[in-house]
Amino acid sequence: MRHAVMVGTGVVGLVLLALGHGLGLFWAPTDKMMGDVQRMMYAHVPTAWTALVAYLISFVACVGYLFFGDWTWDLVAEAAAEVGLVFNGLLLATGMIWGRPTWGVYWTWDPRLTTAGVLFLLYGGYLALRRFVDDPERRASLAAVVGILAFADAPIVYFSVRWWRGLHQIQSTPKTVDPEMVLCLRLSAFAMLFLMVHFVLRRVQIGRARLDRELAPPPAAAAGWGGPR
């Protein structure tokens, strides 16, 4: 069952990604103002949604670990944070590639852009912390605390930067966008969502294997040998 879900999400994700991006590249109409650059949207916007969903999963898992203390929560928190960081990186990269021809700059201090940048650093710190704590139980508690603090920061950063300055275009609603574009965007968004779930499941599997090895008694003790006297 678990295997079927993992393979299923991967296959569905890849098929949807091929469809959404293929249609977005070759079938959807060209944007009047931005030209072909706009096609970047089909990759850029879904990465933002997916990264946020992944961080949300990680946050919920952090809270879950502190309440229930079950290893699975910790594994999910780590996996989702790591996958979220990957999508966050893709988001920043595609945003910069898109921003240069459209705005004339790679980086601006737009609220969403800045929040994405700060989140990238926050979760980079979260993952860095995990590497430096050897005791698995301590690592899980400390990481859960840091994960909760990091996620709580996102809305505050967003609003503080929005007050500070703003330039990003206002989100388009499906009503103002060509229906063919909306279809490509939706397909790509679901594709990335499925791929994200797939990656998280895989990462949990890897994490579980690592944890089992960490928690296993040392080989000498397992063999019933007490070690040198």
Partner: protein
């Protein structure tokens, strides 16, 4: 545990920390001198242009403060991590919430004093103007110091028993306090350079909001950080 008992414990922890800081004045001096050095380095980095310096006095002041804060915060938990003193406190037993409040209040006070010490230097080096009065600026200092101290105390505890703490503490803390830096620099700058649009109030509110969120989160989560 009753609330009164908790307060008493928090006050005792705070007094212990203040006493430690006072007895080891070399440490607080070193941190203050580090802050002064940072401000000097900013002057050297931007060159002798007086107008730029005045324009960014608030920004430099807060950056200097933030850089020094890492040293002060790390120090406040180094003394507890050494010889497992924190374990002793836990066994007494000292309530985790009282421990957090006691230490965070002292850290906030330390940063506040540091900010007040750096303010005259900003006037001398950068030509910062204090026309709005020292009172409102000190108010912004207090709110900003509290904003750095709450997550800072928590993260200092998180990193206190990790080898790479010197790297991890700023790595975790700096991105988190971006809103504090934004709001505090804006508010300080507006107070120094004049505030024709009356914006200081909204930046102060942002600082208050951040403080409320992170003092609550710190109080809730600290127990999980110091548990063995």
């Amino acid at each position: 545990m009753t609330a009164a008992e908790r307060v008493r414990q928090a006050v005792t922890i705070a007094r212990k920390d203040v006493l430690l800081e006072w007895r080891g004045r070399a440490r607080i001096n070193a941190i203050a001198f580090f802050g002064v050095t940072t401000l000097l380095m900013f002057s050297f980095a931007i060159g002798p242009d007086a107008r730029t310096a005045t324009l960014y006095a608030g920004a430099f002041l807060w950056l200097g403060l933030l850089l020094s804060s890492v040293l002060a915060l790390a120090e406040s938990f180094r003394v507890e991590a050494e010889n497992d003193a924190v374990e002793g406190l836990r066994l007494l037993p000292v309530d985790a919430l009282a421990m957090f409040l006691g230490k965070a209040v002292v850290n906030a006070a330390l940063l506040f004093v540091l900010a007040l010490l750096l303010l005259p230097l900003a006037v001398v080096l950068y030509g910062a103007k204090l026309d709005a009065g020292v009172g409102p600026i000190a108010g912004v200092f207090a709110l900003g110091a509290a904003g750095v101290a709450a997550p800072g105390t928590l993260y200092a505890a998180v990193t206190s028993r990790i080898q790479a703490r010197e790297v991890l503490l700023p790595l975790l803390l700096f991105p988190l306090v971006v809103p504090v830096l934004l709001a505090a620099v804006k508010a300080t700058g507006l107070l120094m350079l004049g505030d024709p649009m009356g914006q200081v109030g909204s930046w102060t509110q942002l600082l208050v909001g951040f403080d409320v969120v992170y003092w609550i989160l710190g109080s809730l989560l600290f127990a999980r950080v110091i548990e063995e």
